[in-house]
Amino acid sequence: MNFLDRFISSWQKFRKPGYYEEFDYAWTMTIDLDRCTGCGACVTACQAENNTPIVGEKELAKGREMQWMRIERYWEGEYPNARLSFIPMLCQHCDSAPCETVCPVSATYHNQDGLNTQIYNRCIGTRSCAVYCPYEVRYFNYNDHHWDSPLDQQLNPDVTVREKGVMEKCTFCVQRIRQAKDHAKDDGRRRVQDREVQPACVQTCPSEALVFGDRKDTNSSVSKSMRDPRAYHVLEELNALPSVVYLKKVATDA
């Protein structure tokens, strides 16, 4: 169709709020804080799967950690009555992501899977997305990284290694999602089955606190998990419409 037709149809299709509902999938993750033990296995798994750089002691001391998934810790009170609350925080893949609108070169956008993706090749490193993200889950490559042997043999060939000057963040292991969709297409199925694809963190969690799936499928485990009465979003008042649902911790101190 000619340009004018395309113009008018884009205008109409993309003006109403919630047009993401018409996309192919809506990948969602629930994190059950009652089950989460704060062990950090998800952090390690993510680092192993996604070739996240090991920044080293000196850079870490400057505050330049690179962990796409982090366990936030909040202490209350003093010893011996100190209490620790923790919460795993990763990219929330917000539907109204503040970070997506600000990238001047469109290096981050919402793809057909409902994921907030980062295109490493296009990123010029203005770092405005990191400022705009209220969850502060975006990490910038301040230096070129190297992996001491034999760690360089552990790198995942499905994921690129980012150079300096590029922003990165959790992608819900988009490489695994792609593979799952490819398998589904090869099998002649139209959709990926429930629990067929799991990001590294979900796969590794020993207490099964993380559940991942497509919330457009109302029978999937993640949809059932989302309907739990304890469900909430972090920083819900900011209206970023995150795709990560947390289940509030109600375990008593018995």
Partner: protein, 171 residues
């Protein structure tokens, strides 16, 4: 032979007076050269129209429509949903359109200025260097030597400090 009579004056009032008298004596419209913009020129030599206005207007309109088209058109060429916002988002694109209005308005004004003032000057034109310092100069084209004598008389009457004749061949 065709030449130009050039009169150098000390002050702008005498120069304007001389120009007025030259015009009423039937000469072609004289040209005034001065180091500062003069007031009262239009009263003596007739009104001037400025076409620069039209350039600015059309430049601004072009920029306004062009800016919006650039932003909205390129957004549609490669669909890139971001932040749940519409693909053709009005407030940001209006800002782009505003900036382009001003940019194209500025460029069009410059173009209008260059065209209407006939810049840059490729061929040599009559120029008196003292006009850039402190003298006010009246130049008038004369067809015959009789005309140039009359022009000289008028200029001296009005108080010219110096009168030169510049023939077409440059002497």
């Amino acid at each position: 032979m065709a030449s130009s009579a050039i009169g150098l004056f000390h002050d702008p009032d005498s120069a304007l007076e001389a120009a007025g008298e030259l015009m009423s004596a039937g000469f072609a419209r004289p040209e005034l050269q001065s180091p500062i913009p003069l007031h009262g020129v239009e009263a003596v030599l007739g009104p001037k129209k400025s076409v620069i206005r039209r350039f600015t207007l059309f430049g601004g309109l072009f920029g306004a429509i062009g800016g919006f088209t650039l932003a909205a058109g390129t957004a549609v060429l490669y669909l890139h949903p971001a932040g749940g916002r519409p693909i053709i988002a009005i407030p940001p694109f209006l800002i782009i359109s505003y900036e382009m209005t001003i940019l194209c308005g500025i460029l069009a004004t410059v173009l209008g200025f260059l065209i209407s003032a006939r810049f840059p000057a490729i061929r040599e034109r009559i120029y008196v260097p003292e006009a850039a310092v402190d003298k006010f100069v009246v130049t008038v084209p004369c067809e015959t030597s009789e005309h140039s004598d009359r022009a000289e008389a008028i200029l001296r009457d009005a108080g010219a400090e110096e009168v030169r004749h510049l023939r077409e061949d440059g002497s």
